[in-house]
Symmetry: C2
Subunit: 420 residues, 2 copies
C-alpha cells in the first residue's frame, strides 16, 4: 500500500489543550508509516495550506512533541478563516488541491470547533466535488463546549477548572473584605452564545458559602430587577456576593449587556466588558463597593491549572482521528462518549462531520435553576467529573516550561496565492 503525507492544522480560538491533540495526531501518525509518510502542519490553520506554509513535523524532536501535551495555545498558529461554499470560493478549493497534489497530501486533520468542522466537512467532500481523493477527519476543540454529539469538547474542561478555581479563590477574598470594604465581586468569563463556562464556575459553590452566588447565562434573558433583587438578598443574608457573568449576557431584545451604549469623547462605543457594566448597575442601584475581573485570554491559556481528563481527551481524540483515517474512514469527527458518571468513564465515539458542522449546543434548560441565576444538580453531575485531576506542566525558574517549536518549513513548490 502506498503511503501519503498528511496535513494537520489548528483553527479558531485556541485552548489549553489543543496542542495535546496535535501530539496525539503526530504520535499516532508515526505509528502508521505504511500509510502516513509525514505530517505537514499548516502554519496558521487552513491558511497554511492555502499559502503553502507547511511545517515538516518529522523534524520535531520527541521532546518537542511530548511538550505539546502541556503547552497551551496553538503551537502551529491558528486562524479565523472560514471556507465558503465551492461556488463562492472555487479558487481556494482549487488552490488547496494544488497544494495537496504538490506535496502528496491525502490526509487532512482539522482541529477546531463548529465553524472549523464546517471547513473539514467541505474538504471531506473534495473527492466528490472536485475529484481529489482526500481523507478528512475533524479533531474537536472548543472551550465553549458547544459542539454537538460529543459529551464534551477538549479545551472546555481546563477552562472550567480555571474559572471554578478562580471564583473559589476570589470568593474567599471578598468574604475577607466585606465587613468594611468590597461586598460584591464580578467575574466575566467567555461564552458568547453558550453558558457552559459560566456554568462551570458553579462547581466552586459549596455548603460553606464559597464560590459564586449568582451566575448570568447567555441562555437566560437578563432581567435587571430580578438580578438586583437577588444580589441585594445575597448581600443582606451573607454579607457579600460573588457573581459570574458570561460575556454573552443579553437582554430580552437581544442587546449584549457589554454594549452598554457608553461612548467616549469621540462618540466611539466603549470597548466590551460586561463585568464593569454589571458592577456599575450594582453600584448605582445598591450602593455596594464592588470589584470586577475579566478573565479573557487568561482563562483559555491557563494550562498551569489544566484538567487532567481534558488533556487525556484531547490527546486521545488526536490519536483517534489518525486511526479513523488509516482505517479508511472519511468525513468523521471522533467524539467523547461518557459511559459512566461515578466513577467517571469515557470512550471514543464518532460523528459525521455533516452533523457537527455549524451546530451549536447551548446549555440545556434543565441545567439552569428555575430562577435563572444558578446551575442545577443535573448540571453539576455533568460538569464535576470533567475538572477532576490536575496535570501540572513542568516548571523551570518558577514558570511553566512551555515549548516553542523549532519549525522547519517545507520548501514551496507553487507560485504564491492571494488569500482574499
Amino acid at each position: 500500500m502506498t503511503a501519503y503525507n498528511a496535513f494537520y492544522a489548528q483553527s479558531g480560538g485556541v485552548t489549553p489543550v489543543i496542542n495535546a491533540s496535535a501530539a496525539g495526531v503526530l504520535d499516532a501518525a508515526r505509528r502508521h508509516p505504511d500509510k502516513i509518510k509525514t505530517v505537514y502542519a499548516g502554519q496558521d490553520g487552513i491558511l497554511g495550506a492555502l499559502s503553502e506554509s507547511l511545517i515538516d513535523t518529522s523534524l520535531l524532536s520527541d521532546d518537542e512533541v511530548n511538550a505539546l501535551k502541556y503547552t497551551p495555545a496553538g503551537a502551529f498558529g491558528s486562524c479565523r478563516y472560514k471556507l465558503k461554499s465551492i461556488e463562492e470560493h472555487r479558487a481556494e478549493y482549487e488552490r488547496l488541491i494544488a497544494v495537496f497534489k504538490a506535496h502528496d497530501i491525502r490526509y487532512f486533520f482539522y482541529n477546531g470547533g463548529g465553524d472549523s468542522q464546517d471547513t473539514s466537512h467541505k474538504v471531506s467532500q473534495l473527492a466528490d466535488t472536485m475529484g481529489y481523493p482526500i481523507t478528512c477527519i475533524g479533531v474537536p476543540k472548543t472551550i465553549d463546549n458547544d459542539l454537538p454529539i460529543t459529551d464534551c469538547s477538549p479545551g472546555f474542561a481546563s477552562v472550567a477548572k480555571y474559572v471554578a478555581v478562580s471564583i473559589l479563590e476570589a470568593s474567599l477574598d471578598v468574604a475577607s473584605m466585606s465587613s468594611t470594604s468590597t461586598k460584591v465581586f464580578v467575574m466575566e468569563v467567555m461564552g458568547r452564545h453558550a453558558g457552559w463556562i459560566a456554568a462551570a464556575a458553579g462547581l466552586a459553590a459549596d455548603d460553606r458559602g464559597l464560590g459564586p452566588d449568582v451566575i448570568i447565562f447567555p441562555e437566560v434573558d437578563f432581567d435587571q430587577a430580578a438580578f438586583l433583587a437577588k444580589v441585594d438578598e445575597c448581600v443582606k443574608q451573607k454579607g457579600q456576593c460573588a457573581i459570574v457573568v458570561s460575556e454573552g449576557a443579553h437582554t430580552a431584545d437581544g442587546v449584549f449587556l457589554s454594549d452598554s451604549g457608553v461612548r467616549d469623547a469621540f462618540g466611539h462605543a466603549q470597548l466590551g466588558g460586561v463585568a464593569p457594566v454589571i458592577t456599575d448597575l450594582i453600584k448605582q442601584n445598591l450602593g455596594h463597593k464592588c470589584h470586577w475581573a475579566v478573565c479573557d485570554y487568561l482563562q483559555r491559556s491557563a494550562r498551569h491549572i489544566g484538567a487532567a481528563v481534558d488533556v487525556k481527551h484531547a490527546y486521545a481524540l488526536g490519536e483517534a482521528a489518525v486511526e479513523l483515517a488509516v482505517q479508511g474512514e472519511n468525513a468523521l469527527m471522533p467524539t467523547i462518549v461518557r459511559t459512566s458518571n461515578n466513577p467517571y468513564r469515557w470512550e471514543i465515539g464518532q460523528a459525521p462531520l455533516a452533523d457537527v458542522a455549524n451546530v451549536e449546543k447551548p446549555l440545556p434548560k434543565h441545567y439552569i435553576s428555575d430562577d435563572g441565576f444558578f446551575i442545577t444538580e443535573a448540571c453539576r453531575e455533568y460538569l464535576a467529573p470533567l475538572i477532576e485531576g490536575e496535570d501540572f506542566p513542568p516548571f523551570k525558574n518558577g514558570l511553566p516550561e512551555y515549548v516553542v517549536l523549532n519549525k522547519e518549513s517545507v520548501a514551496k513548490k507553487l507560485p504564491p496565492f492571494e488569500i482574499k
Copy 2:
C-alpha cells in the same frame, strides 16, 4: 513568669499567603505556653478588638491551622480601618485597652501593610501614651511589595508568580491568533502607587519572544505617543504585542488613565479599568484587534499558583513576630533579609515600626528600562528568586481544598462599642 493572652489580626487587602503568617503566629505561640496563653484572633482586623469579636484559636484543630498555610485570603476577616492619633481617636484607644484588660491580652500581632503598621506602631506606644503594658509586633504583608526595609513583603511573590505565568500563557495565545485576528493583548494588574507587580510580569519575557513586550508602570508618566510608537514597532516586528499595565498608570499631570473621562447616560464616571482604556487607544490609533483582561482579585487570591518561597516567608515572619514578642521586644516588625541571590538565601531581620509605618517603597529607577516600558536586568535579578518553586495546595474533586475555619467566639465581657 505570668502568661498572658495575645491578639492577632489581619488588616488591609488580603493576599494568597497572609493565612500562612497566621499559621506561623499560632504555631509559635503554642510553643510558648509559659508566656502566651491563648491567641485571640480579631474578627475583621482591628475591628475585632474594638467590637470585642474575638476568636479563640486554641479551639482550632491542628488540621485547620495547617490548612491556613495553603488557604488564600483572610481566614479571620480583614478590614480597611486606620486608627487615627490618640488625640483624634481617644475613645477607640480606651476601648482597645478595655478589651485587652477584659481578656488579659498583653501581646498584639498585626498582620498588614504600611497603613496597618501605622496602627501597630500606635498600639506599640500604648504603655507610654495610655499606661497599658502591651507588646506589639507587626507582621508584614502586602501584595504591593511597597513596605520599606524588608527585602520583600509576603503576598507579593505569589502575585508576581501569578502575573508572570498569566502573561506567559496569554502571550502564547495571542501569538497563535495574530495572523488573522487578535494582535494585541493587554493585561491589567494591581499596584496603584508601586509598579512591583507589573514589573514581575516581565519575568515571563524570554529570548523566544514570549511574555510581555511592553509594561506600563505607575512610576513612569504615561507618554501616549511613545507608547503607541512602541506598540506599533512591536506589532510590525513580531506580528503581535503583549502589554501589562498597572492600575496606577497615570499621565504627567497625575490623572489615572483608568479615569478616562467616559461617562454613562446618567453622567456617572465609568468604573475603573485601565486595560480597556489602553485597548481603546490602540484600536483607535493603530487599528489592531485587541483583547484585554483585568486580573483584579484573581491575582491576589490565586493560591493555586502560590510561590513556594512566599509561603515560607509568610510563615517564618509570623513565627518570628511571636519570638520577638516573647523575648520582650516591642514596636518591631520582622523583615526578610536577602543574604545571597544565587543561590537565593534569606534570613529574618527586624525593623522598628516607626520606620515602617506609612512609608512606601516604589520601584527603583534603575529597575525600569531607559525607555520606561520594561524592566532592567537588575530588576530581573531581584525578582527571579521570589517566584521560584511551586507550593500547590491539596486538591479534592478538582478544586483546591481550602479551609473555612470553625470559628468559636470568645464570650463578650463588655458593653457594645460604637465604631465610627
